[in-house]
């Protein structure tokens, strides 16, 4: 058994490659992006539900909207504060958040999620 050197060298190379993403980023996590609010969203002040809820639960909310609209035909949503909204991604959410790239994509890209909403649902043209 004279392969000690080879084994240790191999291990060192393996560890170096395996940990490459960590030391390449100098052991720092990439900064979480802050979604940018559009002018309209800023002016509206409140979203359909509270900010914290929307931040963590918007996908569940959209799922509920989708199921109620498509499958049950219930197209209006009464939020907890009593305001009613038309349950529609393109016609409600994106009427305020008309900056998909800055608002939606930024975080989705960071979190490496690719929701397929936009395959069908339309979004306003971005101003460049």
């Amino acid at each position: 058994m004279n392969d000690k050197g080879m084994i240790i060298a191999g291990l060192v190379i393996f560890v170096a490659i395996f940990t490459f993403p960590f030391w390449y980023n100098h052991l720092k996590a990439a900064e979480a992006p802050e979604p940018i609010l559009s002018q309209k969203a800023k002016a509206a002040k409140t979203c359909v539900e509270g900010k914290a809820y929307m931040r963590t639960e918007h996908m569940q909310l959209l799922n509920q909207w989708r199921n109620n609209v498509v499958r049950k035909g219930l197209r209006e949503y009464k939020a907890r504060d009593g305001k009613t909204y038309v349950a529609s991604l393109s016609n409600t959410c994106l009427k305020c958040h008309d900056n998909k790239a800055e608002f939606c994509d930024k975080c989705h890209n960071y979190a490496s999620v690719t929701p397929y909403c936009w395959d069908c649902h339309t979004y306003p043209k971005e101003k460049k």
Binding site: Q64, N68, V70, G73, L74, E76, Y77, Y116, T122, P124
Partner: protein, 269 residues
């Protein structure tokens, strides 16, 4: 420690029971937590202006139809629902990829098997407009493995494009050819996109939805509005509705009614 076979089986049995009860309890509490998270103050409802019925249906009076009206209806429908026009975009060779929600066809195509030996004058030129029949007993719904196609309480046979996996069983099941498949990305062939209605994506089947999105806000289907009185829309289940009056006053036929799908679109020839 020596264990007898009997002891081992006892302990194993109790463990399984305990695990089962535990998962049951946690499952119940999770689902009730989900319910309550949803129920806490928010709710879903219909727009009070929405048109409702037990069973939506349509009468097509072919006597009032002309080619121009048919074209107008198709344009109104396809433009509003973002139906792609591959033939306009790529030419006739794309005929196989054509997507149709409502279209004009001839009498003998709409009513095959209804052979008339001595047809009345101009019967073969008679414009017949066809679309999804929103059958009472829809074979497409039975064929769909994901329940992407389903029948609503008001009789509309709807598609949930989120669920469609593009297997096309529904297309094989539909005896009317009312369904089209998106073999390619439809967005390339949509000319002026209606921002208020979604497009479809490659790999899903699509068809007429009796303008469910318009009924939900109290408007009649677009084809009915564009038809200049040739199309009448209403509740087949309500004996006092206009549509039932027309059905009572006229002899009507339905497409392939012998198949037992019970179509909700009636034709006056």
């Amino acid at each position: 420690m020596e264990k007898s076979r009997r002891d081992f089986l006892k302990i194993a049995g109790i463990t399984i029971l305990g695990a089962g009860a535990g998962s049951l309890i946690s499952g119940v509490s999770i689902s009730s937590a989900n319910e309550s998270a949803h129920k806490a103050g928010s709710e879903f409802f219909k727009n009070p202006k929405a048109l409702t019925a037990k069973r939506w249906g349509m009468v097509v009076d072919t006597r009032k139809l002309t080619d121009e009206i048919c074209e107008k209806m198709q344009n109104a429908c396809h433009r509003s629902h973002n139906v792609p026009d591959f033939i306009k975009k790529f030419g006739k060779k794309e005929k196989n990829h054509e997507i149709k929600w409502i279209w004009e066809t001839g009498f003998e195509n709409a009513f095959p098997g209804r052979e008339i030996e001595f047809p009345r004058e101009n019967l073969e030129d008679l414009p017949v407009v066809v679309m999804c029949n929103h059958c009472e007993n829809p074979p497409c719904v039975r064929a769909c493995p994901t329940q992407a196609t389903f029948k609503r309480e008001d009789g509309i046979v709807m598609m949930d494009y989120h669920r469609c996996i593009g297997c096309r069983f529904c297309m094989a099941a539909c005896p009317f050819g009312s369904r089209s498949f998106n073999f390619r990305d439809p967005r390339v062939a949509i000319f002026d996109q209606n921002p208020d209605f979604p497009t479809r994506t490659k790999g899903v089947v699509e068809k007429c939805n009796f303008c469910a999105e318009r009924l939900a806000v109290g408007k009649l289907p677009l084809c009915v509005e564009a038809s200049e009185g040739a199309l009448v829309f209403g509740d087949l289940d309500d004996p006092k509705s206009d549509i039932r009056k027309i059905l009572a006053d006229n002899y009507t036929i339905r497409r392939k009614s012998e198949l037992g799908t019970n179509p909700s679109v009636f034709y006056i020839i």
